[in-house]
């Protein structure tokens, strides 16, 4: 067996041509099966000692053809795809899709549904940033912070399970409202969940923020300027770390975000430390939003009054004739929006998550394109890696927070 290996080595030895200045770069595969590559990113890196000279990145290892599938799903079934896009904060994608479908159908959801959607969006922003910063700590060597944060996520799973029945893939909400009425002690549970989070954040601050090692490793690593960030299509925390004040909740208020007051943290030179700090400060702002939303949660029905789109409840179907007809019509015909196309975007924890939906009047979308924020800031990875050290490559890729489901759709 060893003969095979030796033959392979002999045939591929490098014969240095004379006259060419011989420069020995070390080719390294930070390949798909690598602990820091989140399992699906392949980077072929050319090293001069420890410094990265050239990086060539490949993706596509977890392409699950969401857009092709969504052409065969009804408008409510697409929710099963959207929670597997950014699976770290799946409910944020569901809210995004319901917003886009309702804009296409021209529906205005009642205030209670809007507030509940704001609460779930902000809860998912906290949960997403908890894992994002935790994994950044793990990649830089601080494993304990990750365990503190995972505990908070587990407590959040309890609420999400009560609300939707699933921990991670929740198919939360329907076009035109929520999937089920809120369970009675929802408000107390969310406030109870929020109570220890500032303390845990402070613990992580003392662990990492003023820690000389992490400052040395995070500061001035892969900075990106405003113009290049905008030209790459950065959105979300990575863009705000570069200093551009663009947050969809403020720029194009949707879902009654204008009722709450909160600030948008901005960074200065867009390096790993700024991305980390923007995420930490955003979590505190999200806590403020959730408290305001919970304290003045309005009364009202949990779905819009549109029987021909929103499935009537079972007890109505058996009792009233119209509901039974609507029930039959929705199930057999499906929801048929008018012919046209719409682009609706939501501020998901990773950035602007857009849904470009073209409808030809049929029961399922003619073409549905998910604008994935991950794809647009992962394009800059080859430029961000060049010139840095090998250890910085790990930190950069972890700080950009690339999620496989959303990157490769």
């Amino acid at each position: 067996m060893l003969k095979h290996v030796i033959d392979k080595a002999v045939t591929e030895t490098h014969i240095a041509e004379e006259g060419k200045e011989r420069h020995d770069y070390y080719d390294l595969n930070l390949g798909p099966a690598h602990p820091t590559m989140h399992g699906i990113l392949e980077n072929r890196v050319k090293l001069d000692g420890e410094r990265i000279i050239d990086a060539e990145c490949h993706i596509g290892y977890c392409h699950r053809s969401f857009e092709k599938l969504s052409e065969h799903y009804s408008y409510n079934q697409v929710l099963t795809i959207t929670d597997r896009m950014n699976y770290v904060s799946s409910m944020a994608n569901n809210v995004g899709w319901t917003q886009a479908a309702e804009k296409l159908l021209g529906i205005e959801v009642p205030k209670l549904v809007q507030y509940v959607r704001v609460i779930t969006l902000e809860m998912n922003r906290i949960m997403d940033h908890l894992i994002r910063v935790g994994i950044l700590g793990v990649d830089a060597g601080a494993y304990t912070g990750f365990l503190y944060f995972m505990e908070q996520r587990e407590r959040a799973y309890k609420i999400i399970e009560k609300m939707t029945g699933g921990r991670l893939t929740t198919t939360f909400g329907r076009v035109g409202g929520l999937d089920k009425p809120l369970y009675p002690e929802f408000k107390e549970d969310v406030l109870e969940w929020l109570r220890p989070i500032p303390k845990v954040l402070k613990e992580f601050h003392t662990l990492v923020t003023r820690n000389r090692i992490f400052i040395e490793r995070f500061r001035d690593i892969s900075p990106i300027s405003k113009e290049r960030a905008l030209s790459y299509g950065f959105t979300g925390p990575n863009l705000r770390a570069a200093g551009v004040d663009y947050d969809l909740r403020k720029a194009e208020p949707y879902l009654s975000y204008s009722d709450f007051d909160f600030e948008v943290p901005l960074g200065t030179n867009g390096d790993v430390y700024d991305r980390y700090m923007v995420c930490m400060l955003e979590m505190e702002q999200s806590i403020k939003i959730i408290e305001q939303a919970i304290n003045n949660l309005p009364e009202g029905s949990w779905h819009a009054d549109i029987p021909e789109i929103f499935l009537p409840e079972k007890k109505d179907v058996y009792s009233s004739m119209e509901s039974m007809i609507y029930h039959f019509k929705i199930i057999m015909h499906g929801i048929r929006p008018p012919v046209g196309e719409v682009y609706e975007a939501v501020e998901s924890p990773n950035g602007e998550l857009g849904f470009y939906c073209v409808s030809d009047g049929g029961p399922n979308p003619y073409r549905l394109h998910f604008r994935s924020p991950c794809l647009y800031f992962y394009q800059s990875i080859e430029e961000l890696l060049k010139g840095g050290m090998l250890a910085d490559a790990v930190i950069t890729i972890s700080s950009i927070n690339v999620i496989a489901g959303e990157l490769e759709r």
Binding site: R228, L230, V342, R371
Partner: protein, 220 residues
């Protein structure tokens, strides 16, 4: 001036600048939509980005739609841009006819020199939709394996993939322990060998290094 007036003014500016090349410019669900001729595909974006009043420098998204049989121009490339001076988004659509013969692909000039964000998304459109972008720095497949044939997001491409007759749901898969085939080399193989396309019993056989010929009436 209010948001609507700004949007109307934007449409007029574009209309004045490119005149006859603009097929239509109107508001659609609260967003200005401009349908242009594909000859000015590159110039309109350079102009919009460099324009001092409408600085459309934030590249949001580029995608493509396949209107097989429902329109004469089969493809349509859709680009979303955003300006932070007037807090506006614009959607620019470029209809594109399908290429005449089978071999060549419809062609458009690339935007990656104007907007860096277009480089990988254009590669994804080339990979999934089959639209080539001229003088793009690295025009290779993004999501599918490099030697994959076919463009999956086209309407004539089956969801389950052309090479694979998927076995009907619910058939019991025999899980007897099989010896893993000793594959001498696992260079990246073409998609055919990964998913042999013969009846389900043979499909369950793990990979073998011999190239799989599509035989009718497979052996027992």
């Amino acid at each position: 001036m209010t948001r609507e007036e700004k949007q109307v003014k934007l449409l007029d500016d574009i209309q004045k600048q490119f005149g006859d090349k603009i097929v239509s410019a109107k508001m659609d669900y609260g967003m200005p939509v401009v349908v242009i001729d594909n000859s000015i595909h590159h110039d309109i974006f350079a102009w919009l980005k460099g324009h001092d009043e409408w600085k459309f420098d934030h590249f949001i998204d580029i995608t493509a739609v396949d209107y097989k049989d429902s329109r004469d121009a089969r493809f349509e490339v859709v680009v979303h841009l955003r300006t932070h001076t007037h807090n506006l988004k614009v959607r620019i659509k470029t209809p594109l006819a399908d290429s005449s013969d089978e071999k060549s692909m419809p062609e458009l000039p690339t935007l990656s020199d104007v907007f860096l964000g277009a480089s990988w998304s254009e590669r994804e459109i080339f990979d999934l939709m089959g639209i080539k972008f001229a003088n793009h720095p690295r025009m290779t497949r993004l999501l599918m394996p490099d030697n994959y044939e076919g463009h999956p997001l086209r309407k004539d491409f089956p969801v389950k993939g052309p090479h694979r007759g998927s076995f009907p749901r619910g058939t019991v898969v025999s899980n007897k322990r099989r010896e893993p085939a000793v594959a001498p080399t696992t260079k990246a193989k073409p998609a055919d060998q990964l998913l042999p396309n013969t009846p389900w019993e043979k499909q369950r056989k793990p990979l073998s290094d011999k190239p799989v010929e599509a035989k009718e009436g497979g052996d027992a």
